[in-house]
């Protein structure tokens, strides 16, 4: 018997975009359905759709109302969204080096104190995680990861920092993140990676895609400096595993 999936909500985002909302909360099943719908639309495009933006819980579909109206598009999206999820296909996995603590991860010690443990233990738990790129947003390449160990869940800083360094590896709430460009942030900074998830004149410009898997491994600060120079020159640095 076919399993019927609950239909997402279609929320108008103005006259030229619709939010296809699968859940109101961060929910891995919902994120899987978001990414499945995004893939389905890439594989068989609907005329009039101009751009899709996957997020944790919804797919924002930009369209040209001169080509397709809200109701007609909504019907097509609901049909696609109610299809059973396709069997899991090969996913890309990125192994990302991180220089933890010290000047590169100024919150590591405080996080350890707050969680009643040692910085090494925090690093061990962060490195042990199996993460998924749930969405990319805010600034180019900023990859929001699901899969953070429950023991590392902690609320964001009371006072967000106005500027945090490029390559920051951080945690906030129940999420982990890879930040590419220097940006404001209220998350806890554990380390830095030399990997650029976005680099303008490199091929590919964007390294991570929603749905990719990510694991981290620790490098020392000297290796960071070397890899950072190589990355600046256009090397990808991150190791790609297809599994």
């Amino acid at each position: 018997m076919a399993v019927t999936l609950p239909l997402p909500r279609l929320l108008p985002s103005g006259d030229s975009a619709v939010t296809v909302e699968f859940s109101r909360t961060i929910d891995d099943d919902a994120n899987q359905r978001v990414l499945a719908l995004d893939k389905a639309l890439a594989a068989s495009p609907i005329d009039g759709i101009t751009e899709c933006v996957p997020t944790y819980r919804s797919l924002l579909v930009h369209y040209d109302p001169g080509k397709i109206g809200f109701d007609a598009l909504g019907e097509k999206l609901l049909v696609l969204a109610s299809q059973p999820l396709p069997p899991a296909t090969k996913t890309r996995r990125w192994r990302i080096p991180v220089a933890y603590g010290g000047e590169h991860g100024i919150d590591l010690e405080d996080v350890a104190k707050a969680l009643n443990t040692t910085p090494d233990d925090i690093v061990a738990r962060h490195v042990a995680g199996d993460y998924k790129v749930a969405m990319i947003g805010f600034t180019p390449g900023w990859s929001y990861l699901s899969g953070l160990d429950k023991s590392l869940h902690m609320s964001r800083r009371q006072n967000p920092r106005l500027l945090t360094p490029a390559g920051t590896i951080s945690i906030g709430g129940i999420q982990a993140g890879i930040q590419c460009l220097a940006a404001p942030s209220g998350w806890h900074l554990l380390g830095r990676t030399p990997v650029r998830t976005y680099q303008l004149h490199r091929n590919p410009t964007f390294l991570t895609e929603p749905g990719d898997r990510v694991t981290f491994f620790a490098i020392d600060h000297k290796t960071f400096e070397e890899q950072d120079r190589a990355a600046e020159a256009g090397e990808i640095i991150a190791e790609q595993v297809v599994a």
């Binding site: 006259d15 939010t19 909302e21 600034t139 390449g141 929001y144 929603p210």
Partner: protein
């Protein structure tokens, strides 16, 4: 090739075009002109594609000098005094600067952004198909930052084409129209009504990323933290302090505040051109009306070439002439051959 050199320019001025589409899924901001109709009108006047790159001039003045040959330009958008060598230049019209001549633009008189299109367009290296400046991400070409005095563009030598003006529809002075949602259910009826019935002003701290709205505090039903989701141009989000922010062209691609409503496509440029401190209201329309208006707006832009007129007929606005009661003796206001009659009372 000629050059157009910026002799002076105020802050919040940058190269903009139709925007950088297709990479919002990677967090890449769209950017692009705040007022697309004026962008398209300026470009149409000099024969460019409607969404070609132009200089978006912020509320303050600017001056541009032609070097190494003549340069043909056009201005549209927020009205301001403009002159070349002491003679006034009309808005919504083209003008050719001879080598060494300077086009001087005054402060915006109402509105904020004026668009200076250059015949042949601005030359640069597009990223994701766009030259638009996104200063935060260091993108944009030829200058990935706001423009400053001394910057210059290499441009086509003026074609020598006859000067044109463009007759644009009179902008509406009615409320800024919105569609409720996507998160209007995060607000109760009283707060939605408060949003729609109140008078709002745009805060002076607004920029291309967002227009902060001053008015009553809008309260959420379940707090202000929602899980981040996608944003669009014109999303009106309500952060914890209850002061709504209309997201504009340099918005982040995702955001975590509830969005009570979204400005309709046809009215985003009008909101962009609302000066800080000017009172205005919102009104809610249906999806059918919003999409109909979006189609009309796209058609208006497509058909802008039909609205071009010879600049020499600028005095032949019949209504204006009869309003001013100066055309009374003319046999025909549209036939210049009959004007002599009127000139000999």
């Amino acid at each position: 090739m000629s050059r157009l050199v910026i002799a002076s320019i105020g802050p919040a001025s940058s190269v903009q075009d139709g925007g950088r589409h297709g990479a919002q899924r990677y967090g890449l901001t769209v950017s692009g002109a705040m007022d697309r109709l004026s962008l398209a009108a300026a470009n149409t006047l000099v024969g460019n594609e409607p969404f070609a790159a132009v200089v978006e001039v912020g509320p303050f003045g600017a001056a541009f000098t032609a070097r190494d040959g003549a340069v043909r330009v056009a201005i549209s958008g927020a009205p301001r005094n403009a002159d070349v060598a002491g003679s006034a230049v009309a808005m919504d019209a083209s003008v050719t600067l001879k080598d060494g001549e300077t086009l001087t633009l005054g402060f915006a008189r109402g509105g904020a952004f004026t668009y200076l299109a250059i015949e042949g367009g601005i030359k640069g290296e597009p990223v994701f198909g766009s030259l638009a400046v996104n200063a935060r991400a260091g993108l944009g070409s030829p200058y990935p930052r706001p423009l400053q005095a001394g910057d210059e563009f290499t441009v086509d030598a003026a074609s020598g084409a006859a000067e044109l003006r463009i007759e644009l529809p009179k902008p509406s002075s009615g409320p800024i129209r919105v569609l409720l949602g996507p998160q209007d259910d995060e607000f109760d009826e009283a707060n939605k009504a408060l949003f729609l019935s109140s008078e709002w002003k745009i805060s002076a701290t607004s920029d291309r990323m967002g227009y902060r709205l001053e008015g009553p505090a809008i309260k959420h039903l379940h707090g202000h933290n929602i899980v981040s989701d996608g944003t669009v141009n014109g999303s009106i989000q309500v952060p914890g302090n209850g002061a709504p922010i209309a997201l504009m062209m340099d918005r982040g691609t995702s955001g975590g505040y509830p969005k009570i409503a979204t400005v309709i496509t046809a009215d985003i440029g009008r909101l962009a051109q609302t000066s800080a401190g000017t009172a205005f209201r919102f009104s809610a329309v249906s999806m059918a009306v919003a999409q109909d208006e979006a189609k009309k707006f796209a058609q208006l832009i497509r058909n802008l070439p039909d609205r071009l007129r010879s600049a020499e007929t600028v005095a032949l606005n019949i209504e204006a002439l009869s309003d001013a009661n100066v055309a009374g003796y003319a046999v025909s206001a549209v036939d210049a051959g009959t004007w002599q009659v009127a000139a000999e009372p």
